[in-house]
């Protein structure tokens, strides 16, 4: 299982801050596609992603047990 943490507008859109996904071995790119299609999070493409508190590139692989933070651009100040 992968735990996805959602922040800011993504959290508001889904009305939850955590998404447990029954997945094993998926790339960052694939996860983003999945979140877009399954949950309508269209703006996820612009978001940064961190796997277990480390910045991840699009081809990086996510494994079961990982905690993935999806970090949308927050512009408020």
């Amino acid at each position: 299982m992968i735990t996805v943490l959602l922040f800011a507008q993504l959290q508001e859109q889904l009305q939850k801050d955590k998404l447990p996904l029954e997945m094993d071995r998926v790339s960052v790119r694939e996860l983003k596609e999945y979140l877009k299609e399954e949950f309508g999070l269209v703006r996820v493409t612009e978001a940064m992603v961190a796997i277990n508190e480390a910045y991840a590139l699009e081809d990086d692989e996510i494994k079961s047990g990982d905690i993935v933070a999806i970090i949308p651009p927050v512009s408020g100040g």
Binding site: A8, E46, Y55, P72, V74, S75, G76
Partner: protein, 338 residues
Amino acid sequence: MHTDLRRYHRQMMFQHIGDSGQEKLLEKNVLIVGCGALGSSIAEMLVRAGVGNLTIIDRDYVDLTNLQRQHLFTEEDVLNHTPKVIAAKQQLNKINSQVNIEAVVLDANPNSLEPYLNNIDLVMDATDNFDIRFVINDLCQKYEIPWIFGACVGSAGMSYTILPKKTPCMDCLLKVTPMFGATCDAVGVIGPAVQVVVSYQVTEALKLLVEANDKLRTTLILFDLWQNQFQSIDVTKAKDANCKSCGDNQTYPSLDYANQQKVAVLCGRDTVQIRGKQFELNELAIHVQKFGEMVMNPFLIRLKLEEHEMVFFQDGRVFVHGTNSIASAKKLYYQIVG
């Protein structure tokens, strides 16, 4: 030393600052871009800490809805429509008359900002949109000045410190300027989220200013106070040698005239035209519909707000009707687009 140091006693007792750190702080020059929630509190903390010279830039004036989270400002500032930097300077002078404060009412863009970077030790980001953050990112690489990113919305916030040529820069992290940022106008914001971002920004500022660079936090911090989340993200991997802002071949794309947002007042029409990012109208519609009554056709989106009307064209032009003020128009644009 002509300044009265006794007021900084508790800070000089802090072993990592001490007397020598305090003397460094008194001699430094910091530029704060933006004087809203982040900017006003950053200014207050740096002034109380005795940072010698502050320049604060902002184009906006104090509004009633600011008081919920923007420290330094009072109901009187709202009544007087005082520009934020002026209201801030008045209160800051009462707090610490020994600090030099230059308050600049200015719409920050590459050209207007550049002259203020002269002799600056550190730039604090307290802006509300990514267009200007990418400009700051390029300018700080060009002049080799460290800058500290901060942003917040809802109960969440983030901060990250960028050292020219050393750490990954904002271009490395985000690759492209985001289309829409989450704004406080769209999802609201609570005061504590602002203050945590400010506190992390100011701590790193103090480390840089007293030259304790070995103690700098190298991670991007990200938190959500309502959801009890805290992440400290190692971003080493994001550093991109091909980055146009900080890489081997720097072209500073956000300083390029072609990439700049162009704003013009349309004479006699009570309208300001902004030439911004090009939007996919369908995506834009999802984003802006919550702000007011929306009508769209394949060529444009018309958005009715309380006192203004905005028209977004497919080619990126935006008309803001109901004002001749570039500052008001840009404020509205960033409140809605982010």
